[in-house]
């Protein structure tokens, strides 16, 4: 009995120990054994505690297992775990979790079924299944899947409605949404969805082109009926942007014209409101096309804008004269040609007044130059156009011609009318403004030679040239070279490489240049001598030869006077100058003077050495009477020296006889001969 009691005590002690250390599972087993024997209330309470704690432990364990099963996508196992845990813990949260998992499991099942249907191309069924799944958990992904399947099943209207509920998060959704819209006739909306899709896929681009053409067709049918011109304009611009991205030329041209039409309608209202800045914005956006009303509109808009702002003077000038001189526009001024001209002149005067309002601005200064140049150009062109009926009767400024692609037409017209120009320079300069180098010529004529040079340097050397571009390039190089020469720049000669050709094509420039040289002072002549020698070598024309010969003669004299050159060198240079230009009177005269001086010097030297016969021979042979005169002057001086000398009579007579003999061989009737004879007679035999 005591042994039995000991066993119970030992079991109770073990149970208590396990209970205290929190091992409720084993404690429960031990308490149960003891309770069978003792049936104690205390043990019953502890047993209850152990059972409760054990349930919690088991429940937590089951939750852990459930989460692991979720991670492994084993939803049925997870549901079992959470359900068991719920029974043990009686936690309402676990009940929600079980519900969630059950939904998810259903969704998985539906999704799997839908995928299976999709794989077997049963898109209607797949769409229904996805829609059912979406109905259960509102996932956007399922909604999009359902919508895409609807498109694939050909149910475009319903698909479009479903896509409308989504925010189209990816390219596939955008594509199918656009496709559904296109198929339901909403072409413009379809293209708007596809705008974000960037792919070089040819089939997709083909689809876009087709849808765009349908959108344009739909737009074209309605645009004239739509009272909201702003909305029409906006849509036309959108379609144009799309057409541009697709390089769809046929549509681009049509849409540009529709956009222009809309702008013109809007401009009519803006004009009434005098909103010229907004009109200018529209004009800038418009595709350039040559139309008298648009030309006049541009001219007038910028005219009004330039009243307050000088930066509008330049655009005004781009259109003003062309508009004023336009046959179509000026015909509206008056039927009377005289009155028409008066109106044209008055309008030109208006533009001058506009320019003068901003006379301190650079653009106004340029505009003044441009106006002068262009007035002359347009007058010249008008004259030419009146003489020749070439089927082109638009007199326009070079800038307008360039803007609207008339430059070549005008150049052809100028070529055909070559004989109507004053001279080749006039012909080439007029064409030059309309040539590819025209901008450079403007710069040159407005005094900006550096800019002109920079502009012609941009003309590609290998591009085909024409006589007008060549002329401008050569002229600018010539002027730039002269500026370089005046600034004492080294290597200035390189800029004159094309000058001979310039002179050949426009001899009036050559003549002006040559005349200018003939007016130059010493310093300028010295600096231009090298250039003139170069030019004369390349093109020995009369004006250049004259200028070169003149410069050489003058330079030589300057150097001679500065003792940098002797008589002989001077004579050589002057002879060369005369060979270059035989009519150089100045050189001829200088040469004569130099020759006289040289011969006189030799005679004097001979006489000093008492070589009287040699001196006489030189005087006799000289082509210059001045040399003979000088010879006799020396002879007279010698006579006086002999008379005043201390020589005895015999020696005097010998010297005088020699002098007489020599002088007689030169000119026996010269008064000095008589004087010598008289002296000899005085000395007696």
């Amino acid at each position: 009995m005591a042994k039995k009691k000991n066993k119970i005590d030992t079991a109770l002690k073990r149970a208590e120990k396990l209970f205290k250390t929190g091992n409720f599972l084993l404690a429960e087993k031990n308490f149960e054994k003891v309770q069978k024997k003792l049936n104690s209330n205390t043990i019953a309470e502890k047993l209850e505690i152990c059972r409760k704690e054990t349930r919690i432990i088991k429940g937590k364990d089951l939750i852990k297992q459930g989460h692991k099963a979720v991670e492994k996508d084993n939803l049925p196992e997870a549901i079992l775990c959470f359900q068991s845990a719920e029974k043990l813990l009686n936690d309402p949260l676990l009940s929600g979790k079980v519900n969630d998992l059950q939904y998810k499991l259903t969704e998985y099942k539906i999704d799997a079924e839908a995928q299976e249907a999709e794989a077997s191309c049963d898109y209607t069924k797949a769409s229904d299944l996805y829609a059912r799944a979406w109905g259960k958990n509102s996932s956007q992904d399922l909604l999009l899947k359902s919508a895409v399947c609807l498109v694939k099943a050909g149910n475009y209207l319903q698909a479009a409605e479903l896509f409308d509920k989504s925010d189209l998060p990816d390219d596939n959704a955008l594509y199918f949404c656009g496709f559904a819209l296109a198929k339901t006739g909403n072409h413009y909306e379809a293209l708007k969805r596809w705008e974000k899709l960037d792919t070089p896929d040819k089939l997709f681009i083909e689809q876009k082109r087709l849808i765009l053409s349908l959108a344009c067709s739909e737009f074209y049918s309605n645009f004239k009926k739509d009272p909201d011109i702003n909305a029409v304009h906006h849509k036309a611009n959108d379609l144009l942007a799309l057409a541009n991205t697709l390089d769809y030329t046929e549509l681009i041209v049509m849409l540009e014209e529709i956009c222009t039409y809309c702008k013109l309608v809007l401009i009519e209202t803006l004009w009434e409101q005098e909103e010229f800045a907004d009109i200018a914005d529209f004009l800038l956006q418009m595709v350039h096309f040559n139309d008298p009303a648009i030309l006049a509109l541009n001219a007038k808009t910028y005219f009004h804008l330039s009243r307050e702002l000088s930066n509008f003077i330049e655009p005004m000038m781009a259109y003003w004269l062309t508009a004023i001189y336009s046959n179509e526009i000026s015909a509206g001024f008056s039927d009377n040609p005289d009155k028409r001209e008066k109106i044209q002149q008055r309008l030109i005067h208006f533009s001058e007044e506009r320019i003068n309002r901003h006379q301190n601005s650079q653009s106004a200064r340029y505009a003044t130059h441009y106006l002068t140049i262009e007035k002359k150009l347009l007058n010249d062109l008008s004259t030419v156009l009146q003489k020749h009926d070439q089927g082109f009767n638009q007199t326009c400024t070079p800038r307008y011609a360039a803007l609207f692609g008339f430059s070549n037409t005008i150049l052809e017209l100028i070529k055909l009318s070559k004989n109507d120009f004053k001279d080749s320079e006039h012909y080439l300069e007029t064409g030059g403004y309309y040539s590819r180098a025209g901008e450079g010529l403007y710069a040159l004529k407005t005094g900006n030679v550096k800019k002109a040079q920079a502009l012609v340097e941009t003309i590609e050397s290998n591009s085909p040239k024409d006589e007008f571009t060549d002329y401008v390039v050569r002229l600018i190089q010539f002027e730039f070279g002269q500026a370089a020469l005046e600034n004492n720049e080294k290597g200035y000669l390189q800029y004159f490489a094309l000058t001979p050709k310039l002179f050949e094509s426009a001899p009036t420039i050559e003549k002006r240049f040559s005349d200018k040289i003939l007016q130059y002072g010493d310093k300028q002549l010295l600096s231009h001598e090298k250039l003139l020698i170069f030019l004369n070598k390349e093109r020995p024309s009369d004006p250049i030869s004259e200028a070169c010969s003149f410069a050489m003669t003058q330079s030589a004299i300057i150097k001679y006077n500065q003792k940098k050159m002797n008589d002989k060198q001077l004579k050589t240079v002057i002879e060369k100058a005369i060979r270059i230009y035989p009519d150089n009177d100045f050189a001829l005269h200088t040469l004569e003077r130099t020759a006289i001086d040289l011969e006189t010097e030799i005679i004097l030297k001979a006489m000093d050495k008492h070589k009287l016969m040699k001196a006489a021979r030189l005087a006799r042979q000289s082509a210059y009477p001045e040399v003979c005169d000088r010879y006799f002057e020396f002879g007279e001086q010698m006579l006086e020296q002999i008379s005043a000398s201390d020589l005895d009579l015999i020696d005097q007579k010998i010297y005088l006889s020699d002098l007489l003999k020599a002088g007689m061989s030169v000119d026996p009737y010269h008064p000095v001969i008589d004087s010598i004879n008289e002296k000899l007679q005085f000395l007696g035999d």
Partner: protein, 99 residues
């Protein structure tokens, strides 16, 4: 200044209408007497009037008409396109993500 606006008259106003309009403008006092006198002078001189007609009026009717003609001409291309079988258009799968 826009003399037509100052006198509140149309482009084709007669000289008599210009003078009457100037008198009305004087009464209205919206513009100064100097401005009104200038406007009247501008419009009674034929050359000056022609200049101001050019400056202050635009006529885009012909241009718009020409544009519409051009657009109509080009729209024929669209009519030809419409006959193509749009219904044959098949959806593409190039944007589908490969799983």
């Amino acid at each position: 200044m826009n003399p037509f606006k100052i006198l509140n008259i149309k482009r084709d106003a007669s000289n008599k209408e210009i003078i009457c309009a100037a008198a009305i403008a004087m009464r209205d006092r919206q513009y100064s007497a100097k401005e009104i006198a200038q406007a009247q002078k501008m419009l009674l001189d034929p050359v000056s009037r022609a200049c101001h007609e050019f400056l202050h009026f635009i006529d885009l009717a012909d241009t718009k008409k020409n544009l519409i003609q051009k657009i109509t001409e080009k729209s024929k291309y669209l009519c030809r396109l419409e006959t193509s079988d749009f219904n044959q258009l098949k959806y593409l799968t190039i944007f589908e993500k490969k799983s």
